[in-house]
């Protein structure tokens, strides 16, 4: 292994004298989740052999001559490369064309993306460029993924190879999915606003028709903890059940219901719709929010071999995010609870604004329209 690294290290610097090498093409595939970013370098001599690029026959290929044949180049090359995640094809699209100069001459550079139907764990590559015209052609593939880089050689004898992406370490998966969880709660404004709406009045007491700052902190803390815990338990439950495939609900319904829950939570601060036991609402609606998280997690995809680890880590991430926001919010709310501005400025108009926003979301999600 060290030998290969030594040669590679030495290979970093090069002059520009032309040399006679056999026919090689360089394919770099960067795999992340279900997306593949690719760059394929093919020697212009080889493409000229196949397609005849030198229009005026002067022994030189100009950029103009190359540009004229770019659609043919893309068709030819992409028609001889098949990428699949397991047995599901990943179609290539968005080809972009550039040029590179290496020590042995000019190369056409083809950049494209491929989107797989699911997260890639074993990349099945079928490479057949040029073998019918040059049996010694080799496709030198460099596979880049978050846990490492591996190189593979495709030849006429071995045109089809399954490449398994290295198993990420437990630690790596843990970190990745906790991060995803934190990200999703941090950018999940509907979830945050729901929680916010329930927590804003925690530091207040509802007296006849009005709000007043609470006096004792223990009941406030207990209240907050109960609400957050109820929410957490509920969404963890449905997130797990949905991720495991035990329960599933149509996503449009789920998203609309989440928006509705935010409306209700916000309006509850104006008119006591949900009663005093807001933690029940937190639990009940939390069940629906859990389906929302599950949908987000399904888009990222969980590795088959570390499924439960990823799921648990994602859940932990959501809780961590939630907890940090709550811990940031509560002391501020407690400190401001007696202020007129909090009761009249933040709570009431704020809740109203939240409910309006959530109403917009509800309409957008239920009817699949964009209002702004």
């Amino acid at each position: 292994m060290s030998r290969a690294w030594f040669w590679l290290w030495l290979a970093l610097c090069c002059g520009s004298t032309h040399a006679h090498k056999p026919s090689d093409a360089y394919l770099a595939l960067s795999v992340h989740g279900a997306e593949i970013t690719a760059e394929w370098q093919i020697h212009l001599r080889d493409l000229d052999l196949v397609l005849g690029l030198d229009n005026n026959g002067d022994g030189r290929i100009t950029w103009g001559e190359l540009q004229a044949r770019q659609p043919d180049i893309a068709d030819y090359a992409l028609g001889r490369l098949q990428l699949a995640a397991g047995d599901l094809r990943c179609p290539a699209n968005n080809p972009a064309h550039l040029v590179d100069q290496r020590s042995d001459g000019g190369y056409a550079v083809l950049r494209f993306n491929a989107l797989c139907p699911r997260r890639v764990e074993t990349l099945q590559v079928d490479y057949r460029l040029l073998f019918d015209l040059d049996p010694q052609h080799k496709g030198l593939l460099k596979l880049i993924h978050p846990t490492g880089i591996t190189t593979h050689v495709f030849s006429a004898d071995q045109p089809r190879q399954p490449l398994s992406l290295a198993q990420p370490s437990t630690w790596h998966t843990l970190v990745e999915y906790i991060g995803e969880g934190i990200w999703h709660i941090g950018t999940g404004y509907d979830h945050l606003l729901f929680l916010l709406s329930l927590l804003l009045p925690v530091v207040l007491l509802r007296t006849a028709g009005d709000w007043q700052g609470a006096t004792a902190w223990r009941p406030v803390l207990r209240d907050a903890v109960t609400i957050v815990t109820a929410f957490t338990v509920a969404h963890s439950l449905t997130l797990t059940l949905a991720a495991l495939g035990t329960l599933s609900l149509p996503s449009r319904w789920v998203e609309s219901a989440i928006a509705a829950s935010v409306i209700l939570a916000a309006l509850n601060n104006l008119y006591p719709l949900l009663g005093e036991r807001r933690w029940l609402a937190a639990f009940g609606f939390g069940l629906i929010h859990g389906f929302g998280f599950a949908g987000a997690l399904a888009e990222i995809g969980l590795p088959q071999s570390q499924f439960l680890l990823g799921l648990a880590a994602f859940n932990i991430g959501v809780e961590l995010g939630q907890l940090s926001i709550t811990l940031a919010l509560l002391p501020v709310a407690w400190w401001l609870r007696h202020s007129h501005w909090y009761r009249r400025g933040v709570l009431v108009p704020g809740s109203f604004a939240i409910s309006v926003l959530a109403a917009v979301w509800l309409v957008e999600r239920a009817f699949d329209v964009a209002l702004w």
Partner: protein, 359 residues
């Protein structure tokens, strides 16, 4: 996607490791992006171009196919461009798949395999040729050469002797002289070439080959001055003969005359073998462009390793030993090389690597 992972993927995608320069978008439609290896003014190239268009429609008659394959092989040998070997391979393939292929197809493929250092495969193809045509002088001579590379001197001598009675006096004498020189009788072998060196005219197409072989045998006989003049005479007739250029460069390096090697090879950086000798000379002279050329050669060897190409192990072993000062690596390469070829130079590098490791 979390930002750190996204960044990693982006950086990883940028660091391709393959590229020596970054891909770019040319600004003008007239900027040249590639030079093709044929010159329109050259009649041979034009012929090749016309023949190459037949790639799409391979020749349906054997004589045209044979001519095209031979042209490709000649071109490959002349400028060391391995792509031409592949093109020849493609032309020959359908003919070799027939139930009774033309005999010349086997001969051409033997020549192709020899160029690829597939010596065992080439000998096998020659066996088929000789089964059909036991009087094919080209086949016997090629077989003798291949067996010499594999150090089967008895078999090589037998192949040489089959040239007798085929009207190939020159080839017979040279063939036997080569085997003699390898079996420990180089002085006698060199003497046996003298009549030929005197009788064969200067303009004879086989003269350069004769001079080159005479040079090798003279070197084995310890007559360095004679060897050098033979090599130079061969090169005077054919400047691009990379085999003789390499032999002369090695002789000059052994005689500690690196400056002359640089003068000889300074323009010849295409063939890897010649670049090696140039780098060895520049290393001795400590010339300023030595690091750049050394790195370029290392990159070429790395590319060979990457694509699984094992035809230049002797040179790679020399590079590892003399330039990189890596005896263990050199020994590994030399031993692998020894499995495939056993010419005097292969034995020499193996012994040198072993000695260096033992120190």
């Amino acid at each position: 996607m979390t930002l750190p992972l996204r960044l990693f993927a982006l950086l990883a995608a940028v660091y391709l490791g393959h590229s020596q320069a970054a891909p770019y978008l040319p600004t003008s439609a007239d900027s040249v992006v590639a030079q093709l290896p044929y010159r329109v003014a050259d009649p041979v190239d034009r012929d090749l171009l016309a023949l190459r268009r037949l790639q799409a429609n391979p020749p349906s008659d054997w004589p045209s196919a044979a001519r095209l394959a031979q042209r490709y092989l000649d071109r490959a040998r002349k400028n060391g461009d391995p792509r031409y070997l592949s093109y020849a391979e493609v032309v020959l393939a359908p003919w070799l798949q027939r139930p009774t292929p033309p005999t010349a197809a086997w001969l051409l493929r033997a020549s192709l395999r020899q160029s690829r250092h597939d010596f065992a495969g080439a000998v096998d193809d020659l066996r088929r040729v000789l089964q059909q045509e036991p009087r094919n002088a080209q086949a016997w001579l090629t077989r003798a050469t291949l067996l010499q590379v594999q150090a089967d001197y008895r078999g090589a001598r037998q192949s040489c002797e089959r040239l007798a009675g085929l009207g190939q006096a020159l080839s017979l004498t040279v063939c036997l002289a080569q085997v003699d020189s390898l079996e420990g009788r180089p002085v006698a072998a060199y003497r046996s070439l003298q009549p030929l060196l005197q009788s064969v005219p200067e303009h004879d197409p086989q003269r350069p080959w004769l001079e080159s072989v005479a040079g090798e045998i003279a070197e084995r006989a310890g007559q360095m001055a004679q060897a050098e003049s033979h090599y130079r005479r061969a090169l005077a007739r054919d400047r691009d003969d990379s085999y003789t250029l390499a032999a002369l460069a090695d002789l000059l390096l052994d005689q500690r005359r690196p400056a002359e090697v640089v003068a000889l090879l300074s323009a010849a950086t295409t063939a890897d073998a010649l670049l090696l000798r140039l780098v060895l000379a520049k290393a001795r002279l400590q010339q300023p462009d030595y690091p750049r050329l050394r790195d370029e050669l290392a990159a070429r060897y790395a590319a060979n390793q990457q694509r699984g190409d094992a035809t230049h192990l002797r040179e790679e072993a020399r590079f590892a030993l003399d330039i990189l000062q890596q005896p263990a690596q050199a020994l590994r390469l030399a031993e692998r090389n020894w499995q495939m070829q056993r010419e005097p130079w292969d034995a020499r590098i193996l012994a040198a690597a072993r000695a260096a490791v033992a120190k």
